[in-house]
Each structure stands twice: as structure tokens, then as C-alpha cells.
């Protein structure tokens, strides 16, 4: 079985984000990046399939500038077999459909049995790329899954709904699944894995290499501006030393009649 895992590199959770001068995105100078959390679960699921059946090939793919190679190496260190990076300066203003079309070009060539990816990305929180990619590939999909059991030519998944309810559905292979967090317990790359990763193939491709032109994937959705949300009423911030703050806290709880 061949599994394609889509990874996105996003700003590190603890990074202090600042606006880029054009106000359309954040400045990526001086911040650390990491693999999108949701994607870690997707990768882990693929690696578990490989643990069970070593004949399984796990290919990770990402669309992004050269800094993403570090995340691809991390994925290779964890056990993925090969990595594909697609980048072209023409992709800078990409929207989700641009990314989906680009990944689709790779996925069509790879002919994977299963595509695994994250439900959403930690930066834009769009949750669009997975269903788009599935539609472009003509395969069924399920989003926000917390478990997947491959059995012969089909996979049974649990999809998370609201309020703790799960929907169980069966999909035929090939298909695409987007992972919700908590799906499994994500492994770390071992030292041995990291050493081996250096020798594993990482193919960098341009748009032309995957048979696309910038025009074919031109974005239809454009960010006009991002900005710090205007402060609404907001909270009354308690000031003072920590003991003064604690006294004020007690005062509030007393006012509520709870102490």
C-alpha cells in the first residue's frame, strides 16, 4: 500500500507573531516553524500502517519554500520513506485551492491508495484543502477522523461530530482522510531515524515539474489584510503584585456569592 501524507509547515505555537509590512500576512523573519499539529497525527497513522506492514510506502508532500525541508526531514526521521517539496515563487499568494491543485498534481503521479492529512492548519484554520484535494482526485473523503481501520479494499473511520458524538462511516480505497487531533499518540524521531533521514530522497519540484503553470493555479481568494482584532469590551485586568491580584480575585468570587 502507498500512503501519501500532506504536511504543512506553520509558525511554532510559541512564536510571537508580528504583521508583515504589507499587512497581508505575518512576518516570518525570526520565528521558528514546525509541522502543523493536525498533520502529525496523519503522519503517525501512516507510520503505524507501515509498522504493521513494512511493504507500505509513506510519501510526505508539502508545498512551501525551502524552510519546509526541515519539516520534511523531521518526517523522514520519524520513518517516512520519501519526501516531495513543490515550490515556485508564483505560489506565494496561494489560497487553499491553489495548494490543493498543486498537491493533486503530485498525488496523481504517485497513485496513492490512501491520502492522509490534517483537518485544519494551525495558522489559517481554513479546513478546506483536504476535501478540495479529494474532489480533484475524484476519490471520497472523510474529515476530522479520530480512528481509521483499513480492512481489505475499504477503511472504516470514526469522524468527530459535535459534543463528543462520533459518526462511523466506511469508504472504499483509494480515499482521503483528514485527521483530528488526539487520533493517536505521535512518536518522536529517534537519533537513528534522524541519521537515516539524511540519506532518504527529498525531491524538490517546480510547478512546471508537476505539469502546472502559475496561471492554472492562480488564487481566487485573496487576503486583503490581517490585523489584530479591535479590542471589544474585554476583561477588566486585575493589576498589582501577585498578592494584591489574589486579594482582588477573592473579592470577585465573594461578590458572586461563591465564597
Amino acid at each position: 500500500m502507498k500512503i501519501l501524507v500532506c504536511l504543512k509547515q506553520v509558525p511554532h505555537k510559541d512564536a510571537r507573531l508580528e504583521l508583515a509590512p504589507d499587512g497581508k500576512w505575518i512576518s516570518d523573519a525570526n520565528i521558528k516553524f514546525e509541522i502543523n499539529d493536525y498533520d502529525n497525527y496523519a503522519l503517525e497513522e501512516a507510520l503505524r500502517a507501515k509498522d504493521k506492514d513494512p511493504a507500505t510506502e509513506v510519501v510526505v508532500v508539502t508545498v512551501g519554500p525551502d524552510r519546509v525541508q526541515q519539516s520534511l526531514r523531521t518526517a523522514l526521521g520519524m520513518g517516512a520513506d520519501r519526501a516531495v517539496q513543490v515550490w515556485d515563487d508564483g505560489l506565494a499568494g496561494a489560497d487553499s485551492l491553489t495548494i490543493a491543485k498543486t498537491v493533486a498534481a503530485v498525488a496523481k503521479a504517485e497513485k496513492a491508495d490512501l491520502v492522509l492529512m490534517g483537518l485544519m492548519s494551525d495558522d489559517t484554520n481554513y479546513s478546506l484543502t483536504g476535501p478540495m484535494l479529494a474532489a480533484l482526485l475524484g476519490v471520497p473523503h472523510a474529515t476530522g477522523i479520530v480512528s481509521a481501520k483499513v480492512d481489505g479494499g475499504q477503511v472504516e473511520v470514526e469522524r468527530e461530530l459535535e459534543g463528543g458524538a462520533l459518526e462511523v462511516v466506511k469508504l472504499p480505497l483509494p480515499c482521503l482522510l483528514t485527521a483530528q487531533t488526539g487520533m493517536n499518540e505521535v512518536r518522536y524521531a529517534s537519533l537513528k531515524g534522524i541519521m537515516q533521514a539524511k540519506k532518504k530522497p527529498l525531491d524538490k519540484k517546480s510547478l512546471a515539474d508537476v505539469g502546472l503553470s502559475a496561471g492554472a493555479v492562480a488564487p481566487k481568494t485573496k487576503i486583503e489584510k490581517i490585523y489584530t482584532p479591535p479590542k471589544g469590551a474585554g476583561a477588566e485586568i486585575l493589576s498589582g503584585s501577585k498578592d494584591e491580584v489574589a486579594q482582588k480575585f477573592v473579592g470577585k468570587v465573594k461578590e458572586l456569592g461563591l465564597l
Binding site: 480533484l136 462511516v169 485586568i237 480575585f249 461563591l258
Partner: protein, 320 residues
């Protein structure tokens, strides 16, 4: 705005509240409103929506649509788009919404903005406003070409309460093959940790850093206040606490007299679960954390210093 298509959702046999919120948004934009009701034996819901401002209501009614499924729904929405040629398609940002919307956009090769909180007409154009970076930033987006799709965050608008005399028309050719087979809905067994009736909840988030800190740092405050402990999702994902501690859209929806959020950023999915609490106190080291927008009282600082001080003060107050 010329024509908006609303994709309705049904929950427990009735129109989902978020569908009526879409009606409010669509009507505000002016122009024609067309709605689509999908299901099996759901003519009554379609009639209801027609009366509640849904305008012309298309009814996609077929046995194969009894449970949500990707193929059936895409087919039905595709038919409606073909016959109505809407300029804007509105879908709620729910588990159905995020399963279907991206696939639809790819098929129609059109622009889309997900999880919108506001739509602002701007001349002949529309500006879509949403949050990004886990609510640290707001974004304004524009979409070129039509149709365009927006999925809308539940609660982004008031549910429409006007009445109207819309009509219902049956949509044909909506049955067919479905590749994804529905098996069942599993509802997690109600655990022993019911937060819905708690008077005081003290919840911990990723800011607590490790499981031991729930016992060492948070529990003393929980006990001093006579509260129940809650948690954000990453805490539960990491296995630090069982699922029944989770507050949020995929956890418990709570409304205690006092909710204390410790080391929780305030992502929308968490807020959904706790924002109707009577009084909210948030403790976070980041003064810009979105949680402070819904909190009544905020304490900006390191929880590892603040929480023990609170425990001391609460204990002292009880002793006196």
C-alpha cells in the same frame, strides 16, 4: 447582491439554528434568497424554512440522503447550483459544512472563505471577515468570480425571526450512488464527570505544560474553591485527562456561575463550550490572548506564580 443559495442543515428532525443565522446574513445582503433542504422525508422542514424567511426552498428528498453523505449532498447542491446559478453559497461551518464546502469549491472551481464571522458588502463586491492564527488575528478576504462560497461560524449572526411566504419546489435527480457508507452515530458514554451542572469550573489548558501540574498547581485551586476541574482539548488529546473533562464544541457545553480559565488561549472551539458562563476569569501570560475578550476579569501573568497565590488567598478568606 443578486442571489444567495443557503444550504440548510437538519438537527434532531428540525432546522438547525445556524441555518436561520444564514437566512439573516443572506437577507441582509439583499437580493434573492434560495434555500436547499437535503434529506429523506424532510418536506416538513422545507415548509418550515419557507415560512421562516428561506425564500424559495428547494427540496432534495431521497432515501439515499437519509444520513449525511458526501456524494449525495454534493450531487444535490450541484443540481441546485446548476438550476439557480447563485452568486453566493452559504453553508454553516459545522462537521457537515467543513466536509462538503471545500469539495464543492473544487468542483465548481470557485473561491471560498471558511468560518466567516461577517460579510460586508463593498460596492458590488463582498468582503469576508474571519479569524486566523487561532483568533490572534482577524482577516479580510475577497473572492474573485462567481459563484463564491462562504462557510459561516455558528453564532455569527442572530437567527432570523421574521416570517415570509416562501415556496417549496422539489429538486429532481438527487438520488444515486453513494461511495461512503454510513454505519452509525456513536455517542460517548456519559462519564462520571458531568460539568454541565457544576457551579464553579476551573479549567486548565496547554499552558499547564505537563500532566503533573494538574495535580500540583490546578487541583489546589479547584479544591479551595470547591470547584470541578475542566480542560481544553490539547490536554485531553495528550491523555493528561479523560475526554469527559473537555470543555468545548467537541466536549461539554457548560454554564457555571464562575469559570476560571487557566493557561487557555481562547480558541473559538473552546469558547463555544464556556462563553455562556455567568462570570469568567482568565489567567494567561499573554495579554493579547483571545480569552480576555470573553472574560469578565483577566489576570495577566505566569500561572505558576499566580495560581498558588490565589490558592493562598482563597484559603485565607475561608479561614476568616
Amino acid at each position: 447582491m443578486a442571489k444567495t443559495l443557503i444550504v440548510a442543515e437538519i438537527q434532531k428532525g428540525a432546522l438547525r439554528e445556524s441555518t436561520l443565522e444564514l437566512v439573516t446574513l443572506a437577507r441582509k445582503l439583499g437580493g434573492e434568497v434560495v434555500s436547499l433542504v437535503i434529506g429523506s422525508g424532510v418536506g416538513g422542514v422545507a415548509e418550515d424554512l419557507a415560512k421562516k424567511g428561506g425564500g424559495k426552498v428547494l427540496l432534495a428528498d431521497d432515501g439515499s440522503l437519509a444520513n449525511y453523505n458526501l456524494d449525495g449532498w454534493t450531487r444535490a447542491i450541484g443540481k441546485a447550483v446548476e438550476s439557480e446559478k447563485p452568486e453566493l453559497i452559504l453553508i454553516s461551518n459545522t462537521p457537515i459544512g467543513w466536509d462538503i464546502a471545500g469539495a464543492l469549491a473544487a468542483r465548481l472551481d470557485c473561491g471560498i472563505v471558511s468560518d466567516v464571522i461577517r460579510i460586508e458588502p463593498d460596492g458590488g463586491e463582498l468582503v469576508f471577515v474571519r479569524r486566523m492564527f487561532n483568533a490572534k488575528f482577524d482577516a479580510r478576504l475577497r473572492v474573485s468570480g462567481t459563484p463564491r462560497i462562504a462557510t459561516v461560524q455558528p453564532g455569527a449572526a442572530e437567527a432570523y425571526t421574521g416570517s415570509d411566504s416562501g415556496s417549496v419546489a422539489k429538486l429532481d435527480g438527487v438520488g444515486g450512488d453513494v461511495r461512503t457508507k454510513f454505519v452509525e452515530i456513536r455517542v460517548a458514554p456519559a462519564g462520571g464527570h458531568d460539568l454541565t451542572k457544576a457551579e464553579i469550573i476551573v479549567s486548565g489548558g496547554r499552558g499547564l505544560q505537563k500532566p503533573e501540574n494538574f495535580d500540583a498547581v490546578l487541583k489546589p485551586l479547584v479544591e479551595a474553591l470547591g470547584a470541578q476541574m475542566g480542560a481544553s482539548r490539547p490536554v485531553v488529546d495528550a491523555g493528561w485527562l479523560p475526554h469527559e473533562y473537555q470543555v468545548g464544541s467537541s466536549g461539554q457545553i457548560v454554564s457555571p456561575k464562575l469559570y476560571v480559565a487557566v493557561g487557555i488561549s481562547g480558541a473559538i472551539q473552546h469558547l463555544v463550550g464556556m462563553k455562556s458562563s455567568n462570570f469568567i476569569i482568565a489567567i494567561n501570560k499573554d495579554a493579547d490572548a483571545p480569552i480576555f475578550e470573553v472574560a469578565d476579569v483577566g489576570i495577566v501573568g505566569d500561572l505558576f506564580e499566580i495560581v498558588p497565590a490565589l490558592v493562598g488567598a482563597v484559603k485565607a478568606a475561608k479561614g476568616s
